[in-house]
Symmetry: C2
Subunit: 312 residues, 2 copies
């Protein structure tokens, strides 16, 4: 049997080339960066691409058996109005390194007073203010999957203490202490850094609310490269305005792009990075499809299957 694959992504050309280079057997490929210009969608039993684009053509993919997302987040495909009669797999295991670079860029910048030192330089001031250190500081990680585990490993490299907040699993050796659902405020109590990398699920929505923020120490910095839905943005803006936490580094928001009038743009001690913490690079993501296609041919279970109810 020959499989027919639709690649739909803004950088469809790069994905097409990388999948071609893998010389996969029994595979016909068509690719596009524009959902408006797709032909033969009804013949495709496989799809590979961006969830937001694929969601718009899902009704036309009448033969679809498996869809590989190029992103970790698959919210556009979880809309209850859309079909769920296919196997959905997402991109996992490839973002840990980039996320770790993002989070520790900002943790180190905070300790090393990078922006303050830069301002002193503008004024040609020889600024002897002593920087801080990550050594001995406590990081709390919400969501300890492959990304959380990568963060925990880097935290340990820099001599930090690591707490994890998870739904269930306690498999990461770099986490010193685990907390679960009802221990939310206890988890928050003593953190120097709170980093949220949990998926968008009913269990994580608005997890970081006014009560959670109030439980954090005043020295705490909140870093969110995960999902905008995890935080109550009004409560966060209030906590920042009233200096009840030391700062926030935000990559994701309830509404993206963040509207120009949104109060978070100019809240004190907030840094905004426009959903660029861990972009999907074709060279990293194409191998996830290739490996899963080989599993398909061998009738093995596919990696990274998404449970439509759980949302990840």
């Amino acid at each position: 049997m020959t499989h027919s694959l639709l690649i739909l992504a803004r950088n469809a050309g790069a994905y097409h080339r990388l999948v071609d280079e893998a010389r996969l057997p029994d595979l016909q490929i068509r690719s596009s960066s524009d959902p408006e210009h797709i032909t033969g969608a009804s013949e495709c039993d496989l799809a590979f691409g961006e969830p937001s684009l694929l969601a718009t053509v899902l009704p036309k993919l009448t033969s679809l058996g498996w869809l590989q997302a190029t992103w970790a987040g698959v919210e556009p495909l979880l809309d209850p109005k859309l079909r769920r009669d296919y196997v959905l797999t997402n991109a996992r295991g490839v973002f840990g390194g980039l996320m770790s670079e993002y989070v520790f860029a900002y943790l180190l910048a905070h300790e090393r007073l990078l922006l303050q030192k830069h301002a002193s330089q503008q004024a040609r001031q020889w600024d002897k203010t002593a920087p801080g250190t990550l050594r001995g500081k406590l990081i709390g990680i919400v969501g300890v999957g492959s990304i959380g585990a990568a963060l925990a490993k880097t935290a340990k490299h820099f001599g930090m203490r690591v707490h994890g907040y998870t739904r269930a699993s306690e498999t990461c050796a770099d986490v010193d202490l685990y907390f679960h659902s009802d221990q939310r405020l206890e988890f928050a109590r003593d953190l120097d850094y709170l980093v949220t990398v949990a998926p968008n699920t009913t269990g994580t929505r608005q997890l970081v609310d006014a009560a959670f923020l109030a439980a954090l120490p005043a020295r705490a910095v909140f870093v969110n490269p995960g999902r905008g839905s995890i935080v109550d943005e009004a409560a966060l803006a209030a906590a920042l305005r009233e200096k009840r936490i030391a700062g926030a580094v935000l990559d994701v928001f309830q509404t993206e792009p963040l509207p120009p009038t949104h109060e978070l743009w100019r809240a004190p001690n907030v840094l905004i990075t426009s959903h660029t913490a861990a972009l999907s690079h074709p060279v990293d993501i194409a191998p996830v499809f290739v490996e899963n296609y080989r599993r398909l041919l061998r009738n093995e279970p596919l990696n990274y299957q998404v449970d439509f109810e759980q949302g990840y």
Copy 2:
């Protein structure tokens, strides 16, 4: 025999308390933060403190047998006009962690476009510019002692390739390839990052000169948390002005504080941090003295002895 110790440092009180707490036998301690107000200097056979302060009282320390410096750099004590009839030990093995945090704060800030993203935020711009990554990049480390080895380890953690430039030793497993004296320009040729942490010696003075800078690729960033003497500052300023390298992060200078009129304050793509990369914290340095004192009592060779001729 009872030993008599002079502690001379700006934070003499903290050092005095920490050495007291170690309850060392047969030790009398006097401490001061002011070289002008020292009594009984001629009785002291031991000294512990800042090289710049101790250099001023060295002629009065007529009984001196051993001096433990609180810094890594001991240049003030190497002045040929000063006595050398004592054992000089410096602080080593304690700066690797802080140096690593400093260097990687700036490497990650460079890759993650931290200052550019901050400027976009000031303009409320949703800036989707894709950041870079340390993964696969090449770092060249000049001086692979304990600090260089710590940098190499962190570089490997982030998936970088590591080259080392040393006088002799090739003992660090995290260095992929070593270069030596006559391979200076070959070492420079392909670097993404050049980091200099070598001591100030005749072999390292002006090592990073016009020829070395010309051999670096245009994408290279130079980070110097080591010694100001290693670089030809006029050549560096020219390379930055002409965009022949991508940037510089400078913690140390030929003259400190850097004079307000110095061209490096405002050279393009330069970040200045006022000799704060790895400050000596009494809690880290006091144990170096304590361990060496115990070695003295046991008639064992002291750790970290400085060769007055080599300069480290």
